[in-house]
């Protein structure tokens, strides 16, 4: 059955067929920045914003996202999100880059609700985003830098 998903401010007609939001984003809408890494909500590589909150798209049925505002990494290029991306590059808060879209999504959501986070708040908000390369010290610095520049 066809449903309408609102992704990055645009309305898309899709057929979820019981699939997760991540599959629809990547396979139907070709929004390839959102990554699959574990498929069980353990790593955050697939994080997208649903009504401004970070959600693991690998666990969310696409149908459940109907009527909500979905923003993927591709929709994050202005304002605070842009500052986050610039800070990630400047601080080298990324290595292979595979987890980075999810990190940027989660960091943007954190700064939207907590514009000047403490180290502990960053750790709490970002603990669901795994980075196997170990960019964590610089992710923390990048978030503090983006907070300072906002």
């Amino acid at each position: 059955m066809e449903v309408i998903l609102e992704v990055n401010g645009e309305r898309h007609s899709v057929v979820p067929s019981g699939r997760r939001l991540l599959a629809v984003l990547r396979d139907d809408l070709e929004l390839l920045g959102t990554k699959l890494a574990c498929g069980e909500g353990a790593c955050g590589a697939c994080a997208v914003l649903v009504d401004g909150r970070p959600v693991n798209a690998c666990l969310l049925l696409a149908e459940a996202a109907v009527g909500h505002q979905i923003v993927t990494i591709e929709g994050l290029s202005v304002g605070r999100a842009h500052a986050v991306q610039e800070a990630f590059v400047a601080e080298d808060a990324l290595q292979c880059g595979y987890c980075t879209p999810g990190q940027v999504v989660s960091a943007t959501a954190l700064l939207e609700r907590t514009p000047a986070p403490t180290r502990e708040q960053i750790h709490e908000a970002m603990a669901g985003n795994l980075c196997r390369c170990g960019a964590y010290p610089k992710i923390e610095r990048a978030i503090l830098r983006a907070a300072g520049s906002a």
Partner: protein, 750 residues
Amino acid sequence: MSRFVRTRTEMEGRYEDVWALVDESDDTESWAPDAALSLVGRPVPRQDGAARAAGRARFTVDVRLAGTLHAVVLRSPVAHGRVRSLDLDGARAVPGVRAVIGPDSELSLTTRSPLLRGEPGYAGAPVAVVAADTLEAAHAGVLALALDLEVLPHLVDVEEGLREQRFTADPTDEARGDAEVALAAAEVTVELSLETPGQLQTALEPHAAVASWEGERLTIWVSTQGMFAARDELARAFGLRKSDVRVLTEFVGGGFGAKQGAGFEALAAAELSRIAGRPVRLVNDRHGEQLDGGRRAASRQTVRLGASRDGTITAIDADAVIGMGQGGWMPPVLIPARTLYRCADVRALTFPVKTNLRAQNAFRAPGVMEGTTAFEQAIDELALALDMDPLELRRRNHTDIDQVSGSPYSSNQLLACYDRAAELAGWAARGELREPQPDGLLRGMGCASQIWWGGGGPPSHATVRLDSEGHATVMTGIQDIGTGTLTSAQIVAAEELGLPLAHVRALGGDTAPNVYGPIAGGSQTTPSVMPAVRSAAAKVRKTLLQLAGDVFEIAVGDLEVSDGRIRSRDGAIDVEVTEVTAKLGDATIDGSGSRGPNPGGFVVHTFGCQIAQVSVDAALGEVRVERVVAVHDVGRIVNPLTASSQVEGGVLQGVAFALTEELVVDPTTGIPVNAYLDDYKIPTIADTPEIVIDFPGIADENLPTTGTKGLGEPPIIPTAAAIANAFAHATGRRAVALPLTRDRVLEALA
């Protein structure tokens, strides 16, 4: 003029004599250790950072070709079995299924046979692969295979394998002098036995390949650290010319050693694509990746040391029992015992036990990391027995001579690393940590030393092309798996060309240009590729200045180029590079460079020291790493920004090896029970200690032209040992196995 020279190359301690193509006319002089360089040595953000941060980086899993089929692997559910029945035709009858291969299928690939085994030797071993129009149809095809297996006896207990003498290769006995006699004569002796865990590489992008044929030409995207090895393997397997195989690997979502060459995924995808006549995409799911992506082998090591009262180590006797799984190259676990300190009487016995797990493979500093974890704890036990400061004991037994070959090291700043690490960590006051703490926790500080190869060598090539707009493109054979080596190539080229960074771009990740670079492993990319890049860029600079001489009718020797401007020494000429390059029209200035051999008579190694501070909650058994100081001697640092990232990443993987990561195998079934991301515990941001980093940064004058060594492996090597030593300092106890889970900690403290 090009010449062949005979030289010795090294990859993770394996030496090979090869012919290397070198350019005799290359007169690029080494940068002096104190050379005033404008870009090299300054922090530079990655040239592709913005693409990665914006989600625009295209990994193998992101490749989308029209008509692509999706492949799903059927894996053995048991540790050892024999296929009784497998309904390939049943799978082929599933709507949407286009190709199916099993153990008995006739394949067009001719090597690595069999690709699929009818008698799988480990849980997760590929038994069949189905390619279909959709992932869902492929999964339906796998179900229709209706695999029926006879379960055969398995062995996953390494001690049992040792008793039964089940080895993947003959045990090795590497000795010099007589360790037994020296031990018997020693004034002080210690002995330590401990276990290190199996550790999964867990790259977040799993092994993946997308294959597409056009006639007898294969184009394939592979998530690999070694695109040229993949190309050669695929060409051999399918009987193709190398130039008819193009491997693309622009962005790789982590490797850590697990992604060597083509791998099963690329071979299977290419085979299925050939059968179906359509592109095929094969991406491991997470469980498949954790079962079959690779593993640092678990080990049980025993180290016996003898010393005189003054702290001189007189005997080293070490043995290692390694759980190899189904096979693979034997990791050099006892290299630290054999080489880290001066000692004439050494014996090292290694037993590679065959078990029903996947063949172990390379994981960042394979062998040396787990060997250091045991050996450096034994060194601390010796310090305790001697009542000597652990760093002082290490200093006393320092050597500038490779203990195996007898040759001097090309450079060695280990003593400077000790001093700097001690200063940064506050080592002198470590005793105060053991006084009662306000928060009730126990605290301690421990150190460990690091040795690794990392000198690089030929063959490695680069080409530089300067266009009429004054922009340069550097073509390399680099796979930048997250290390930042492409940005280092950009920096080195810009430095040599005298161009601004923004006008230079380094490319890699594609075999089509056929500009060879080594596999992204063994800490060899930077030391191998940077001299080749510099040499290519130097040729372009020379040509540019010659052309400038023509334009301005001035002797070439009176001209120089820097910051994108060409200047004469008398100041009369000071113009943008484009004043000259614009006259090229559509022509370009090209230069190619190659890596010369390392000089004979030296052995090239990297060194370092880490100091960890931990807290221990004796009631809960919880260990937290509070701070790690890491000082590594890897020669000249090209880009301190990405270099520090490498160190942070290595340290964090070492912290996890010490505290949380362990592949747990059910002995009853032989099946790994935590081959997922929710229960295989890699570190999170909340587990991250403060990491303090420094480098002596002194160029190795015996290495060609850039004085750089590799940095991929060094930072993971001493971390776990330093943490375990800090734990022992805090508690007075030593855990006999890592990781330091609460259970093990409480047992150690009981």
